[in-house]
Subunit: 406 residues, 2 copies
């Protein structure tokens, strides 16, 4: 059903990171629903969280603990988002962290909790606490794929990706996993993502690097325009590779490292869209020629969120009027409709804000019949641009979300 | 399928307004697709149009002609929106107006064109031109219901409503018809609406009165969050009733008249939501306690546009976490989640930003099982408020819009 989801996941261990998974009975199925990630001492960790003001209890604790300690353990459960429960939710998350801290002999604040799943149902903390001793015992550097499996909710496949780059003759590994399928929209992308590298990275560059990478990847995707309460993306740098320190003073390898992280984030983000709830099409929206990059993002979001555009893609209907209508209500200033140009793949369908003279419906229909479609919208008004990814709106999106709790 | 659409339409003639309909072959079906409305000389007309910058050709002509002449005829076709076609679209609309002007012996600019239907397909102007002589011949004051039928597109029922109020002992009639089902979102509400009254109204008050009425009615509904390119709402006052002039100097009857127009607009707006594409639920969103009315509108729109909230309503699932998540990303400042209170009908489901202590799922499920549901969201942060209306997102919405051109 999903547009070209790769069939086999290959992930590389990262020196300084171990993982373990368990089935604690949080999901209704008997699938694994717990992941513990252990991070070596002295690793650097950067983090980005949801912009939703209604943040889940684990997000609140993460923000608090990150001020107080360097993370050593990440405890992630799927099946329950631990959100909207007030003080008992915070207490449940704290209890789980405490179990890990106690079993591993570290401070409470160095254990970060993450949850994903149904909102607003009490988290069965005792089930998680009971699973912690086995998790600690089973930690292993080769469990990334099991980890990607364990954090799934409505995801139809486990998602992850590897990168190896060379820094002055030293191979550096970057491994990432993520989950996300519905409640996906930018800022940030409504999902969980964990990216680890053994690179030696200066502390001050890791967080801004992650911010930029997220902005160009997870913040450029939308499935349904709903923003989650539990989003989190972590970048862990264990420093075990022994490469020369990546720091502002040596821009070349640092830039290459940032590029590799950004590419991996983009790959993960695209996997989320490809696995979008009910998705049958993968749509790349290239917006060009806006006054600013922010304007390009606003146009991309208007088109990506339009139910009428999304259902037209689902129907393989080159209904470009709906695309132009969405451009027309994008919240940007100085929109000159008479300059707008739109391409479906290589086919120019709109020129000067109206149906292109040469356009024939059959050419548009041929592009729409594909599973991967590139839509290019050029406003010819400046140098602003963005690449944005989204999917269509199908019966299955409605079914999945109507049946989610039943 | 639709939540409580009234079965029988009753409309009253308005002195000074005549209508005629025809089947010109613009719709693929053989249904009527043309409506001509004749307005008596010296009537006052106010108009509101779409805020979409990608406005259809007829909207452009309307804006232009309204600067130049007092409207005498409104020519409305359904089945083709005449949008996105550049100069040929303007020319097609002009040709149709010219046919009416010539047959009726009035200036071109006193004929206003309106179109609704598929975007971006050439308007068959000659079919419309050919139908004009019969339209002129058949004009009759008792054709409001036929008019409401003729302007339908995906609407499953014809929509309209009557009002009669007393102004200093003189009965004044207000009759309105409208169409709209998909591509419905506020600002304005993505539809066509024609409201006529025989009241004698001072020219300077009609337009501001219509602006306020639209703001409280058509701008408070959303079906799918898509904003049309063809929206138009007209208020016609023929002055035939002989009532004392409604003017700022006599606020009491003027206020009562404005209230009646606003109520009728609200009734029409709600009919559009009840007939929302694929709608199975009619949802009233009452937002209270925001800092401003604008904030209340922003919260209502975030909730009304959320596909996850809409699919939960479709599933009759009291998934209040999704509602709270949408409130959490509404673009307002100073949102204190810990004060948020949410009611489903009379059942308090969220208090202080978390599941209400007394709340039991069965009570929420009982409300969700109804066809008409009131959702109240109180932010307890000020006096801002709004009443907003929306519907759920169902399989049928996807089907209708995936099959629209096929």
């Amino acid at each position: 059903m999903e547009p070209s989801l790769k069939s086999e996941l290959k992930l590389l261990p990262v020196d300084g990171v171990r993982l373990a998974t368990a089935a604690a009975g949080i999901k209704k199925s008997s699938n694994e629903d717990l992941l513990l990630i252990e991070i070596a001492e002295n690793a650097q960790v950067a983090a980005v969280f949801t912009a939703n003001r209604f943040a889940a209890a684990p997000v609140e604790l993460c923000r608090q603990y990150l001020q107080q300690a360097r993370p050593r353990y990440l405890l992630i459960n799927s099946g329950n988002a631990n959100c909207g429960l007030g003080a008992p939710g915070l207490e449940a998350a704290r209890l789980c962290c405490e179990a890990v801290a106690s079993a591993a002999g570290v401070d409470l604040e160095s254990v970060l909790p993450f949850s994903t799943g149904v909102i607003a149902e009490p988290l069965p903390a005792q089930k998680i606490v009971a699973a912690v001793p086995d998790l600690i015992k089973n930690l292993d550097s080769d469990q990334w794929i099991a980890g990607a499996e364990a954090i799934r909710t409505t995801d139809t496949v486990a998602k992850g990706g590897p990168r190896v780059i060379d820094i002055d003759g030293v191979p550096v590994t970057i491994t990432g996993i993520c989950k996300g399928s519905g409640m996906i929209r930018p800022n940030m992308a409504t999902m969980l993502a964990y990216i680890a590298t053994d690179a030696v990275v200066a502390a001050e560059i890791l967080q801004p690097l992650l911010n930029r990478a997220v902005d160009a990847s997870f913040n450029c995707i939308s499935v349904d325009g709903d923003m989650s309460t539990n989003d989190a993306c972590l970048l862990i740098a264990t420093g075990k590779a022994g490469n020369p320190l990546l720091e502002p003073a040596m821009p070349e390898p640092w830039h290459r490292f940032e590029q590799a992280v950004t590419e991996l984030c983009t790959e993960l983000a695209q996997l989320i869209v490809r696995d979008g709830e009910g998705a049958t099409k993968f749509i790349t929206i290239q917006v060009r020629g806006t006054v600013s990059n922010d304007d390009a993002r606003a146009v991309a979001i208007a088109v990506a969120h339009s139910p009428l555009v999304k259902t037209a893609f689902f129907a393989s209907d080159a209904n470009w009027g709906r695309i132009l209508a969405a451009v027309g209500y994008a919240p940007i200033e100085n929109l000159d409709i008479s300059k707008v140009e739109i391409f479906l793949g290589d086919v120019c369908i709109v020129r000067n804000g109206a149906r292109a003279d040469q356009y024939e419906e059959a050419a548009g229909a041929a592009v729409m019949a594909e599973g991967d479609i590139t839509l290019t919208i050029d406003l010819h008004s400046g140098d602003g641009r963005i690449d944005f990814w989204t999917c269509d709106l199908s019966y299955d999106y409605v079914r999945i979300n109507a049946e989610y709790r039943t």
